[in-house]
Amino acid sequence: MRILVIEDDLDAGAAMVRGLSEAGHDVRHVGDGEQGLEAARGGAFDVMVVDRMMPKMDGLTMVETLRRESDQTPVLFLSALGEIDDRVKGLKAGGDDYLVKPYALVELLARVEALARRRETGQVQTNLRVGDLEMDLIGRTVHREGKEIDLQPREFQLLEFLMRNAGQPVTRTMLLEKVWEYHFDPQTNVIDVHVSRLRSKVDKGFDKAMLQTVRGSGYRLDA
């Protein structure tokens, strides 16, 4: 997919370009908000990664301008400001996700891919399907190979998030943020335990393990 990276720190930008390109994406990098605005207006990008603090035009203003021009390209804000109100400000300005610096490359990649995917499946869905796993979003039921899987509400949300991002790695932080809506970093492996519970329900008794652990980053649901 085509990704626009707007980051004034050239080293950080180069690292992002490298990491995202290696994952098979077409990446363009510009160094300030004005160039970013120009590039965003010119080319059809799937996702934009925008640093919040930049010379000439800061990230917030740039994204607000684009949103006024009804450009709905998903935006991932990068910021050294990690406070809750900064996060809220970023999301209010039209950002779709918020990543605090410094971040791990896998985290960035996972979030960018999740944003792009969210855009692809933008229309309202009533059911999700990944391989032989089927989720009815209205009836709140899950079937695999026709057999119903009984899930707790939170497990359902967790699986829904994994299914919406099927084939892509999702990190523990993403799960805690998107499924539980907490923005802190637990000192214990709470998320792993939830995922392994879900895994025992989704994969137990079936030949193929769908819910994979991705070393060093998190989890991935494969078809």
Partner: protein, 468 residues
Amino acid sequence: MRLPSLFRTTPFRLTLLFLALFAGAAAAFLLYIYAVTAGAVTQYADAGIVREMQALESVYANGGAAALKESMADRVASGRPFFYLLLDQSGRKIWGTIDHSPVGEFDERNTVWMHFDVASTGPGHVADHRLARGERQRLTGGEVLFVGADVTWAEAYFLKITSALWGAGALVIVLGLVGGVIVSRNVNRSIAGMTDVVTAVEDGDLAARVQLRGAKDEFDELAAGLNHMLDRLERSIESLRHAGDAIAHDLRSPLSRLRARLEVALLDVEAGKGDPKEALAQALEDTDGVLRTFAAVLAIARLQAAGSAPDQKAFDPGLLAADIAELYEPLCETRGLDFKAELSPGLSVRGNREFIAQALANVLDNAVKYTAPGGAVMLRVRRRSSGDVEFSVTDTGPGVPEEDRARVVDRFVRLENSRNQPGAGLGLSLVAAVLEAHAGRLELDEGPGVFDGKGPGLRAALVLPRAG
């Protein structure tokens, strides 16, 4: 800042304004008194004249002009304070104490009230113009009788009052101006202390404080307020400075460790002994640790500097705890811990939900980390009789000895038996900082006690003050 010159000071201007108002009010008052008193005096004089006239008329009716003349003479002799004048039909004086009628001869009206001048005709007296009032009556025989009264005393009285008031007015204005100057000087002196302090603070001396004069007036109050504000400002700048030092200190040791490890790894790789990939992975992990420490230290420092948590809203603590319980329950189960939650419904507290969730998660993290399998963890939310709301986490782990309880809240303090557990020793410090930022407190107590070789456990209570 320069002090304004006297005439530009607010108190002096206010004094002038009050003087003007006072003078206006005094003039109106004077006018009113004059009008009322003058009316009363005239009426009193008129009533006397009317009575005198009636008495003389009845004398005339009984004895004619001759009797009238005699009666008037008697009255003058007995010292009555009236003027009399009797004229015949043609206007010639028959008898009287004054020479001319003050009323025009051709005035045909019967009764005339008027002010007139009297030329006193006493022997050896210079003509003396006096103010009088009188009534003229045409008698049945065609004669004209005039009775007047001297009202000079009343006029003199008014004059005295008026000049007294003028004098008083002048005195008031002079005293007012002097008072204005004194008040302005006083106020300026009171403010000068504050002005000096503001100047000093502007110049960077945050320790400057206003000397209270002990008058307990509004200036002292303002000065006390200014001092209080400066105290707070100084404290928060101090705590920011302290936070900066602390962050530098807190990060120095993990960074030194990381550096040493990289150095050793480099030597090993150069010597062909070590695996560079492993060394890099280890370095990355160490860096993540440093970053986590940094985030925690920064969060604590910011909370401490801010004094109060941002975005505080009312929420149901039971629901928040239920949410967190749901997050931790599977973890406890996996670790072989019996997890229970007792959450009072329908309570309300005010706070930053995210921070309090994090504090609760930290305490639960600790409970899970330090409690051996087979133990129990209990999460409770209840309202205390004081109205405060407490979240408490009780475990059956080794607990914290009483003498260490105050200390474990300090940053980077890790007790001996926890050294083999992951963590940087910031968990409880952050909890304490979050609670402080909500005007609450962290209380550490013994858990349920020793049984089955476990315990005595730890009970950590996160106490939030009652909402409102």
